[in-house]
Structure formats: C-alpha cells, structure tokens
C-alpha cells in the first residue's frame, strides 16, 4: 500500500514537469529541441531507468537464488519429451509475486544453457497453463497453493523450486533454506526428482541436503 502511494506521487511530479519542458522546446526551435532530446535521451533517460532499476533491484538473497536457478538449468537434465526440438528455449516460471524480478530477467537476457536460450514466464495463478522447466514458488504463496502445486506437477518433468521450510519433505524436488552461516542452501528431494524423470548432476547433489519421501502412496497429510 505504501509502495503504491509513492509511485503515484512520483508520477504526479513527472506530469507537472512535462509542460515546462515542452514550452522550453517550442521556444528554442529545432536545434535546441534536438540538443535537448539528445541530452534527455542520452543522460536523463538512462539515469532515470537506472534509478528505477536500482530501486527495484532484488535483494542479494534473490539475486543469489536467481543465479541458482540458472545453475539448475545447467546441472539438471530434462527428459527428451520436455524439450520440443533442438533449439527451443528453456523456460523458468515464477508463480505469484515475483521477488526475483530483474535478477531473473538478466539471466534470460544474457545467458544460455544447454545451447538453448532462456525464457522467463510469470504466472498469476497455478491454475493457468504453467508449462515450464523450472517453476519457482516464492514463500509468499499460501501453503494451500504450495501443496496443490506440488500435487499438480507430480509426475511431470517440472523442477519445482520452493523456499518454504518443509516443502521438500512433502515432495518438492528443490527447496531453498537459509543456512546457519547466512548462506543459501538447498534441499533436493531425490525421490521427487526421480518421480519427475529429472536427472540431477552429482555436483549439485553433493552441495545439497538430501531429502527422501514422501512415499508414493502416502498423501500429503
């Protein structure tokens, strides 16, 4: 609510400025206009964009998590049927409010994995078509939804990545946790990855806290 308020007041201020700028441009003719445009576009716009970008730059925690997601693309092998064609992109999905923001956009913009491009898709709700290779579920997502998503993606080749304590135990393949030394660790539920036909590289497993279960027939309580 507080954030919304700030944004509106910022926009208000920009609106008030615009007539003044236009008046200036009209008065000084073409050369001045060109110069002004150059100055505005060359200095102000990138600066403003940069400022805006910095202001919504994800926290270090989420920049690390975004980097992890990129690494998961490298160290997890998806089954053939999950990849349409040889050069279709790999998709990272985010459910609900996305805390990864620009950190994930940077991954998509600058990185490639397995010789493929990377695409980010953001989903409002888990009921829509959430087809992707990695699905990140932030901790802001309610527990009921979490359980539903785990259930729904069970058996399909989706690397569900959560950050809610206990999520790996109920069947999410990967779950982040804040380690005692304030680093970010991750749990891998090896039963869940096997069930989803995902092969996890040994190098990744070595760094992970290994979780097993729940058993196939067991519900999720």
């Amino acid at each position: 609510m507080k954030c919304g308020g700030t944004a509106i007041s910022k926009r208000g201020r920009t609106c008030r400025c615009r007539p003044a700028t236009e008046r200036l441009i009209l008065m000084r003719g073409l050369v001045v206009r060109a110069a002004a445009a150059a100055v505005v576009s060359g200095l102000c716009l990138p600066a403003a964009a940069q400022a805006l970008r910095d202001s919504i730059r994800p926290t270090l925690e989420y920049r690390v998590k975004a980097a992890y997601l990129y690494n998961f693309l490298l160290y997890v092998t998806w089954p053939e049927e999950a990849l349409d064609g040889s050069n279709s992109p790999l998709v990272i999905g985010v459910l609900g409010d996305d805390p990864l923001g620009t950190a994930l956009d940077e991954v998509a913009r600058h990185k490639r994995a397995k010789g493929r491009g990377i695409v980010v898709r953001r989903f409002e709700s888990w009921q829509e078509d959430t087809r992707c290779h990695i699905l990140f579920v932030p901790r802001t997502v309610s527990r009921a939804t979490l359980t539903a998503v785990v259930q729904r993606t069970r058996g399909s080749p989706v690397l569900l990545v959560g950050e809610t304590p206990g999520l790996a135990t109920v069947g999410a393949p990967v779950n982040f946790y804040l380690d005692v030394d304030r680093t970010i660790g991750f749990e891998i539920n090896v039963d869940a990855t096997a069930e989803r036909n995902l092969r996890v590289d040994a190098r990744l497993l070595k760094l992970a806290r290994i979780i097993k279960g729940p058993s196939q027939d067991g519900g999720n309580g």
Binding site: L74, T169, R182, T183, R209, K212
Partner: protein, 712 residues
Amino acid sequence: MGRNSTVGVARIVAASCLLFHALFLGQTFASAQSASSSVYHTGYQDERPADAEPAEAEASKDKDDKDKDDKNKDGKSKARDDLLGMDIEQLRRVSVAPALEEVVTTVARQESTVGRSPAAIYVVTSEMIRRSGARTIPEALRLVPGLEVAQRDANKWAISSRGFNRIFANKLLVQIDGRTVYTPVFAGTYWDVQDVVLEDVERIEVIRGPGATLWGANAVNGVINIITKSAKDTVGLYAQGGGGTEERGFSTVRAGGCQGDLAWRAYGKWFERDGGVDAAGPAFDDWRQKRGGFRTDYTPNCHDTITLQGDVYAGTSGTTFFDFTPEEMQVQGFNVLNRWRRVIDDDTDWSFQVYYDVNDRAETVLFQHVEVFDVDFQHRFPLGRRNNLIWGLCYRRVKDFLEPSSPPAILFFPPDATRSLYSAFIQDEVTLREDALYLTFGTKLEKNDYTGFEVQPSIRLLWLPSRRQAVWGSIARAVRTPARTDQDAQVLSSLSGEPAVFGPSPDFHSEELIAYELGYRAQPAKQFSWDISLFYNVYEDLRSRRLVGTIPGPPEIPLFTLFNDSRGDVYGVELACKYEVTPRWKLTGWYTFLQLALKTPPFPPQGVDAAAVVEGSSPQNQVFLMSSWDLGHRVEFDLMSRYVDSLPGQSVPEYISLDLRLGWRPSDELELSVVGQNLLDSKHLEFGNVDAKPVPLVEVQRGVYGYLTWRR
C-alpha cells in the same frame, strides 16, 4: 582500580601495536597471495575428481559456453551481477544477510533479527566457536562483549553479565535448547556439567540486561541461550580427537542421518583436563567427563516439527572449593526434552515443550540430587494489523534431596523438598510505523513457593531510522528469586578463624532490579557493523548478611542470616564491532566499561566492607579482539586477545591473554588444528573467592593442544 594503571595502559598499547602490526603484515601477505592465484577463491571443488556422470561433462561444456558468452557480452552489460558468473560451489558460499540480520530468538521468543531487537543482544555463531578453538561453553562465551568469564580453576568458572560475578553468579539465566540449567539449589550455573558437541551448536545468543518478561525470574542481568542445530543439519559423520598440555585428551564422535521426514543424530564425547596450580603446587581440580546424547527432528508436514532430544553424562570434577581436603567430586545426570512446534503461517505458531532433567553431585560436604520437570506452552498470533501477540504458560516442579556430610558443614531445612513454579507471560509488539517504529511491552507473572507472586514487566521501543540503523531503549523490572540455599541452608563455617553459623534465612526475599537501557546499532557499510549500549541499573533488596544473635555456648557462636539490606546502582557502556577487512579476514572487537556503586551494611559489623568485595569482583574495563584470517583456502589463522581489568575484591591483578589457533584442511573431510591458550604468561589468576573463604587460589596455566577433525 588505579593500581599500576600506567603500566597497564602501556601494556595494552604495546600489545595492540604488536597485534595490528602482525595483522597488517598478514593482510599484505594475503592480498599478495590472492593476486598471484585466483584458484583460492573457488575453493575445494577444483580438486574434486571428475565424476563419471555424463551430465557432468555436459554441464561443464555449458559452463564453457557460458564463459564465452560472458566475454562477448561484457561490453554491453558491465554492471551485471557477477553472481551469474559464479560456480555453483561459490554460490553456495555467498552470505546473503548482513550482520544485523542474524537470526535471534531470545529477545522475542520468536525468530527475529539482531537489527530488529530492542535489547543488547550478541550472537556467537558456530563458525566463531570453531575458529576460536574453544573446548568448553565458557570458553566460547569469552567472545561475547562485556560478559565476565573468569576461570576459577580447571572445572569452575565465574560467569556473569553487568556485575555481581561469583562462582554462583545468580543473576544470569542459562538455557540449552530451551532447558534451563540454572541450579535451583545454589542459584547459579554449574558450568562443569554444561556441555554440548560444540560442532552441533547453531548459535549462542546472549542478552545482556534483563530478559525476565519472557524468560522469568533470575534473568536479571542476562540470558544465555545455547541453541543446537536441527538434526537435519547434522547429517553425516563427525569425529574429533586430540590432546595437549592442559587439555589432556578429548574425543567426540557424532553420526547423523535422515530418513524421509525423520532426521536424527547421536553423539558420544569424552575429555580429561589437567588441573591448575595453586600456592602449594598442583591444584586438585582436574576434570574428566563422558557424555552421550541424541536428537531427532520429525517433520511430517510443512506445519509441524517434533523434536526429541536427550543427554546423559557422568564424570569427576576435582575440587577444593568447600574444604582444604582435595576430593574427586562425582557428577552425573541426564535430561530428555520433547518439543512440538506448529507453524500455521508466518505470524502464527505455537509450541509445547516438556522436559525432565536430573542432576547428581556427590562431594564430601554435600550430596545433591535435583530433579526438574517443566512444561511450557507458547502461542503467537497477530491481532489486527498492528499487533503481534505472544503469550505462554509454564509449570515447573523441582524436587531435590540434599544430604549433608557428617560432621555436617552445610544443612538444608528440610533436606528434601518439592517446589513448584507457575508462570505466565504476555507480550505485544505494536507496529507504530511499518519498518520504522515498534513498541513492545509485556509482563511475566509468576508464583513461586518462596516469595509468592512476582511481576516482571518491561517496555521497549525500537526505531529504525534506516535499513542499516536501529535505535532502541527499554525499561524493565526483573527479580532474582530465592533458591534453596538462600532460605533453607545453614552453613557451619568460620569467620576470622572463629566458628560462625549462617542461616537459615526464612526472611530473605527477592532481589529486585529496575533497568534502563539505551542502544544503537548500525551497519554503515556491508563490511562493517557496530553497536553500543548504555545501561543504568537500580537494584533494591540485594542480599546482605546481618548478625541476628548467638548460639549459646560454650563457646558462643555468632549466628548470621541473609537479609535484603543492600542496594545500589550499576552503570556501564558496551561497545562492539565487526569488520570484514577482506572476505578472508574478519576482525571482531569490543570494549566494555562497568561501574558498581553499592550500599551494603558492613559485614561482619567490625570488618570487611561487603560492598567493596562485590564491586571489586567484576572488571571495570575489558577489551577483546579476535582476528580470523584465511591464509589460503586451506589454512586458517586465528588470534584472540583479551585485556581484563583487576578485581580488587578478589585480589586478582589485571591481565592480558593471547590465544592463537592454526587450522589446516588437507582435504575436504579432514581438518588439523593447533591451539595455544594464555600464551603471554605461564600462569595467571582469573578469580579468587568472593566469600573470602580461605581456599587455595588456583591459577590458569598456559596450554597448547592439537586436534584432528573429520567430517563426512
């Protein structure tokens, strides 16, 4: 305290110059090394044998692609995060939370952060303990700003916060995993039987100042919470063994595993410590103990965690404490604790905890058998948009059996007793302004069998001017309730060579504190954080002794009992900072000042100034510096130095100590360490005896030990 102050200051200056010189040289060396080779940074994974997994090969190929991509596109996006260029192993080591965001639970009985805690809190992490080379909990507590940790002999410590230090420092509450280890018989902590596998400690949280609103009576001057890791975090094998001159030998083995929802660990440890030296030669204070225990954490779903843990120990602690005749005191005990915690959502949870704790101490002067049974419930929930409420109930039953020696030296009336404690607390955190201003207030209400009802309220205000700063202030009341020894004990002792009898003292009631605190903490840069706290404590009804009559003779023996005739003010400053000079060199330092001004009726009437003894039992000035430096990715060099002011009340001169540790990891699984303790002198005195009983003073000796640690 002005004795030899010039010499003292000169010594501090010389020592710190030396220290900084050494550190500066070290720093230059370190940067030279890192410049010459960047392999150090990536750490251990480079030497890992290439796994034969096909995916591995593919992954590495991709990584090469990625690196090429990086080079091609670098021109376009210079400002890009270098996190994306990191190896997964490097990523695993990135610390995401600044120092102020360290998680703590002691201040609010729920997870919060140091930066958001309106109290003088300090956290000792497991990494700090490992780097310090500490073998015991008291040694680990030496890292905490302002805590007075004085080693009385090889197995006894006097540990207190903000004054009133004694062997039985009775104003400091100590807990291990939610189990209080404050002895209900002698009011204090038997440090010789408090032990854990230090590797399994997640963190030690220490609050200086009152914490009675949440934790109850006796949390007057401080609370120490030792929190061990969840069994989920200790999967694998761990073994450690070593020995040396003072630490004669020690070994620890721990195994942990995880099956589905159930994680477990079990450990066994043993140690033997050499005694110190007193005026007559070797003191009889050697110390041997073996201990075993387990912990299981069961997480059937994402809401519940059920923890079951227990320990059992037995050992001997050499002592000459009550009597000149040396003896081997036998100690043994066990405890079992069960906790069920349910998290409903981010703001709502409850937990229910039960524990049973049995301790036996057999010394010539007294045999003690103490059983504690405790049930505790707490519930947290939001009320409206601004209030975060936490409340709880607790019942504790203490059953003891105290058998005197014959002829008796200390008698309890009655010799066996069962005492109950009922308590409740409620605390509300009001968000006055989101992320800026918080008001916390609450109270503990408890009923004990000695003094009836006790109310211990507190009010705290927290202001966050920015994300990197916090200002807090608090006013709190706390009481130290009587223990068995205060009301029920009769000590047959002597005074200036003449026999005298002390107690029982049925009129002794609670000691009271009203504390005013103010604090500020800030993290002006990512690498640097500091905090300062000021406090002013007003004590009423402090313990004193009064001559009440004589026991008809011949000879006539004077009879003294305990009263609450003493009072006083204590104030001080505590300053601490952490500085990460480079990612591989961290400095931690603190300075504390403490002044006690007590008014106590002279005791005995003709003699000792009782106030001066208590005032002079805590160091006025303390300075601490710790440097943790990675000489390469496999070699660690740590230095700890302390200056502790003189204790005139104990006839203990000031001293500077220096501990060094050198650690080497030849492989991922193996670690070799050599530690030198108290290197500056062959022996020094840290504590006398506050009650001025004629017992031998034991000096702490220089010690060197080495050990091997294996983790898998």
